[in-house]
């Protein structure tokens, strides 16, 4: 829709030999000129011919990020028919991430889901039959983006962003109502007060940017959930996978009870594991919340580990879990293989087609097989590394950085002694950036804020 410059990591977000960052749009060459250094430091890529490859470095200011090959394609001879740059770098996730961030910092924005293909299509590059797939991509990825920005962005971050937005819109509404009704509302000397408020907001935004740098806003990795009845051995399994008794246990906002989360690395594959409350039909209100939460996690999970206590018989609670597992990516662990079994693999087979492994969390047996299974599933593409989460993270961070920039420009306008109406231009931009994170829009908010908070005349 927009024709500004977009960028994306084009290769899978997994540790592989090579990574590609792709940039498309009218500013592509201007951006690469800013961040590319040739070996002798003299080459300017925008002066080079289309369809040539150049060895060199990507730098963020003075700092070298990676050694790269850069492929140039000038409009209209590219996939999108726009100026396009491909940066081939070393395939580490961190390196790709850093390069993308540098590109974004220099004027690109993260591509929307399916946007490269969409541009290719709208610019007449690909044919009709391919268009169907464009629609599919946009649809499915948008569903995810919606889910991830609204659903997964739970808890404190969401609250914080809403708080800041509220503060900003209050300032805008005040300025705007004074401009619309100058005889009733005066904003003389307002700059000083606004400066203080913006300084405060900037502290919070800075903190949020910093926290997005270590670890991400949304947890990246394969979203994995461990389910089973109480005492089936879920927590023991988690401890085993983590490799030690957990020193740190993170509480996820909204659950005061029973949901624990860990991030582990299995042979380079990141699993984001949630240990849920045991599922059993319950009348107890507190426990019910924990169980509902568990169900919710199962619904959203990429991968489910179902722990069965093989020393007991299957009951209605198990049947409930089995129902949830139908058609999902999952493994079934028959735990307590050290005890005499009341539930066997054959019995399980009648209900579920997923892989079944016998383990004993007590004796530490069968865990290797579980790890091996997960690895196989991943490399056979049965399990997806959820790179949309990564993209969402980058987008959020980018929006926070833009918010910061806009707020700094407000401070600049105050410092330069610009009239008050100029403040609201950048305040609006800051507000819109924050809104993009939580998927809301400005228009009505502002008018409502003006009318509800400020008494207009006549």
């Amino acid at each position: 829709m927009k024709t500004d410059t977009i960028a994306v990591i084009a290769t899978a977000m997994s540790p592989s030999g090579i990574g590609i960052i792709r940039i498309s749009g009218e500013d592509a060459f201007r951006i690469i000129d800013k961040i590319y250094r040739s070996k002798n430091g003299k080459k300017v890529l925008s002066n080079e011919k289309s369809h040539t490859i150049h060895y060199g470095y990507i730098c963020d200011g003075e700092r070298v990020i990676d050694e790269v090959m850069v492929l140039l394609m000038k409009a209209p001879n590219s996939y999108t028919r726009e100026d396009t740059i491909e940066i081939d770098c070393h395939g580490g996730i961190l390196v790709m991430k850093r390069i993308l961030e540098t590109v974004l910092k220099n004027g690109a924005r993260p591509a929307e889901p399916g946007e490269f293909t969409k541009r290719a299509f709208l610019n007449g590059r690909i044919d009709l039959s391919q268009a169907e797939s464009v629609i599919d991509i946009i649809q499915s990825k948008n569903d995810f983006a919606l889910k991830s920005s609204v659903n997964q962005l739970q808890g404190s971050l969401n609250v914080k962003i809403k708080e800041i937005r509220q503060k900003i819109i209050h300032e805008i509404a005040f300025i705007e109502s004074a401009l619309d009704d100058p005889e009733h509302i005066s904003i003389d000397g307002y700059g000083e007060r606004l400066k203080k408020n913006i300084d405060d907001i900037l502290v919070t935004v800075d903190k949020m940017i910093a926290s997005s740098e270590n670890g991400g806003i949304l947890k990246e990795g394969i979203h994995t959930v461990i389910v089973g009845k109480p005492n089936a051995g879920k927590s023991s399994l988690l401890n085993l996978l983590v490799g030690q008794e957990r020193a740190i246990v993170t509480d996820i906002a909204g659950t005061t009870r029973d949901i624990l989360e860990e991030q582990i690395n299995l042979n380079g594959i990141t699993l984001n594991i949630i240990d849920t409350a045991g599922i059993r039909s319950t009348e107890d209100v507190v426990e019910k919340i924990g169980v509902d939460k568990a169900r919710e996690h199962v619904d959203k999970a990429d991968f489910i580990i179902y722990v069965v206590d093989s020393s007991t018989s299957l009951d209605e609670n198990d049947m409930e879990i089995i129902e949830m597992l139908k058609g999902r990516r999952a493994v079934v662990l028959l735990n307590k293989s050290d005890l005499s079994p009341l539930t066997t693999e054959e019995q399980m087979r009648q209900f579920l087609s997923q892989k079944i492994i016998s383990v004993s969390t007590k004796e530490h047996t069968g865990i290797d097989e579980l790890e091996e299974t997960i690895k196989d599933m991943f490399f056979h593409g049965e399990l997806d590394f959820n790179d949309e989460v990564f993209i969402t993270n980058i987008r959020h961070k980018n929006a926070l950085i833009n918010t910061k920039q806009s707020l700094s420009m407000v401070l600049g306008s105050i410092f330069d002694g610009m009239p008050e109406d100029f403040y609201s231009i950048d305040l609006r931009n800051a507000y819109e950036e924050l809104s993009s994170i939580i998927g809301e829009s400005m228009e009505e908010d502002l008018v409502n804020e003006i009318f509800s908070k400020f008494c207009m005349g006549k």
């Binding site: 009709l128 268009a131 946009i138 003006i450």
Partner: protein
């Protein structure tokens, strides 16, 4: 029995601010036009506040003028005080507001209408619209007379099914006790038009002789008056001005109001209509902003030859006896004599999503509407729509291209786009905060933005258009020249800088750079710019603004370029949204209801997501490729 039957090109229903602009535009374009009013004495009447312009409304008047409308010229002839609001703020929010002599304003407009060729004024109540297979054929009056026309423009203001409320007393009249129009609503409903009910209100008018002005602050007009119209010579408007006065309500006032709330028809639930939040009655202010211990009250003259003073800030629908008590609690109004009561008015209007951005009904060809009937409020909003409806009715009859201004071109564009695209549940008022590109939509450059459209429509003279082209060139050349003027760090320059409290220069710089310093300006640096050509003041103003706010302006131009790409992607009239499988149901329903003319407009409809827009784009491109392959 035979009835009167006449034929015109255009019928305009209503002679308020919208109707007058609409009728004048059509008649001036050579179309045989008739304008109906329930009372010829109420042409261009101002039933509420006695002023024209104000924040963002002043912009509208300037734009109307640049397009060849009448409002700016008319107020320049009849104002009694003028003020540029927000002068200490940026140029984008400077806004002209003038107090009008109401009677003179109305009379001047009537004279203009009367002296316009091809324009007939008729006092009659229009009771029906006539259609044939969804095409308008004319109107019928209450007396049974038929007026056939190729286009009809509804500008019924607050007259449809109107009733006025003052406490328990309800009068079934239009504003100022004028005859309401009680039949047209039914005819519109029969033609499938969805009707809303809105309300608005006005304060009391008080006899000047009963006011003690010594207890109030005097409010003067500007020393140097700027006219509204680009065609008015500024020397002609430097008149002796009358003053307005400022006083305040107090706790006692609020107490009286609170005690009598149950007698307010709004709080008693008698009023059904939705009122505007931006011009609340004093009851609303006291209830909603209970933390404020006083509210401003502006006492404004209604004209030179009347004793009536408008009590700005205290509109009300409380009963007469409470009104006396309430007004008399305000300092200076202790002995106030009310000439006309405050009242609330309820009226029928329509859901403007039934209109195209040309202001023509989607379902009835040749039927246009403008003003309060479209759910807006304010004289200026009405006039702006009237002008656009008039131009477009004329263009469609003449077979020429219709005029749709977009949000990056004019406040008028924002106004109409908001009305026809967004959900609107209260009378709509223009506000500068609604214009996202307001830095470009200044009142000072309305002529540069819009004169060409007025010229293309045929409402602007060749001479006026040529001047705009010349003005553009002068501005452009001067900006370039200033950027090349090098200022050395010599003693003379340093002294001048110092005299403005500006930091001395280390090395030479350009004049442009110096002008950007907050404490300096294009005008103030004339003395170190000996080569400066003698330019008209309006050119200097533009040069100054462009240099000073260059960074901000460029950023906004960039945003506009993005915006325009979507506006330029037009959706065909007969586009079938049911063919686009992947649209979500809500989006599909909304798109079918609104039938946006462009992807840009579609993207502003609430309930249509960016993903839906992507689907539309992809589908449209698919169709284009298919058509091309089939050689269409």
């Amino acid at each position: 029995m035979s009835v009167v039957e006449e034929r015109y090109d255009v019928c305009v229903v209503g002679a308020g601010h919208a109707g007058c602009e609409a009728a004048l535009a059509c008649a001036r374009l050579g179309l045989n036009t008739i304008i109906f009013t329930v009372s010829v004495d109420s042409i261009a009447m101002m039933p509420c506040n006695p002023n024209i312009g104000g924040s963002s409304k002043g912009h509208l008047v300037r734009e109307i003028d640049a397009l060849g409308g009448e409002m700016g010229k008319n107020i320049d002839k009849t104002f009694i005080q003028s003020k540029m609001l927000n002068k200490s703020k940026g140029p984008a929010v400077h806004s002209l507001r003038a107090q009008a002599d109401k009677a003179a304003y109305s009379m001047e407009m009537r004279k203009t209408l009367q002296s316009t060729e091809c324009l007939t004024i008729r006092q009659a109540e229009v009771s029906e619209i006539m259609t044939d297979h969804d095409v308008i054929t004319g109107v019928k009056t209450f007396s049974g007379a038929k007026y056939f026309a190729k286009a009809v423009i509804l500008c019924t203001g607050t007259y449809l099914g109107a009733r006025c409320l003052c406490g328990e007393v309800i009068n079934y009249t239009g504003p100022n006790g004028l005859q309401p129009a009680n039949y047209l609503t039914d005819s519109l409903k029969k033609n499938g038009i969805e009707i809303f009910r809105f309300k608005t209100g006005t304060p009391a008018r008080i006899d000047k002789r009963s006011i003690d002005f010594s207890k109030m602050q005097e409010q003067f007009g500007d020393e140097k008056i700027v006219p509204f119209s680009f065609t008015t010579n500024p020397d002609d408007v430097q008149i002796d001005q009358v003053s307005c006065w400022l006083t305040y309500t107090n706790e006692k006032t609020h107490e009286i109001i609170r005690e009598n709330l149950d007698r307010s028809p709004i709080y008693a639930g008698i009023i059904e209509g939705t009122g505007p939040r931006y011009c609340p009655s004093i009851e609303d202010k006291v209830v909603k902003f209970s933390d404020k211990d006083r509210h401003q009250v502006f006492i404004e003259p209604e004209g030179i030859h009347t004793n009536e003073m408008y009590i700005g800030g205290m509109s009300s629908s409380l009963p007469e006896d409470v009104q006396y008590e309430m007004y008399r609690s305000v300092p200076g109004l202790e002995n106030a004599k009310i000439v006309r009561n405050a009242y609330a008015i309820e009226y029928d209007c329509m859901n403007p999503n039934q209109l195209l951005p040309t202001l023509e009904f989607k379902k009835i060809k040749g039927l246009f509407s403008a003003g309060q009937f479209n759910g807006s409020s304010g004289y200026e909003e009405a006039a702006a729509q009237g002008l656009i409806a008039g131009i477009n009715a004329a263009m469609s009859i003449l077979g020429k291209k219709q005029l749709v201004l977009n949000r990056s071109e004019a406040y008028i564009g924002v106004l109409i786009d908001d009305l026809v695209t967004k959900e609107n549940y209260e009378p709509y008022r223009m506000m500068t905060s609604r214009a996202e590109y307001r830095l470009l939509l200044r009142q000072d450059n309305a002529d540069l933005r819009l004169t060409k459209y007025g010229y293309e429509a045929g409402l602007i003279s060749e001479e006026r258009y040529q001047w705009i082209l010349e003005k553009e060139k002068l501005i452009h050349d001067e900006i370039l020249r200033v950027n090349k003027v090098i200022i050395g760090a010599n003693k003379n320059v340093q002294e001048i800088l110092e005299s403005f409290g500006s930091v001395p220069l280390n090395t030479g710089t350009t004049l442009t750079e110096l002008i950007r310093r907050p404490e300096l300006s294009y005008e103030s640096l004339a003395q170190i710019d000996p080569e400066r050509p003698k330019l008209p003041a309006e050119v200097c103003e533009q040069v100054s603004i462009h240099i000073k706010y260059d960074g901000y302006i460029k950023r906004q131009i960039k945003q506009v370029e993005q915006f325009k790409k979507l506006e330029e992607k037009k959706i065909p009239d007969d586009f079938d949204y049911d063919e686009v499988d992947s649209l979500r149901i809500e989006a599909r329903q909304k798109l079918k209801l609104y039938r946006p003319i462009s992807i840009g407009q579609a993207s502003r409809i609430s309930g249509v997501s960016p993903a839906d827009i992507s689907m539309l784009l992809v589908y449209m491109e698919q169709q284009r490729q298919k058509n091309r392959a089939e050689g269409k």
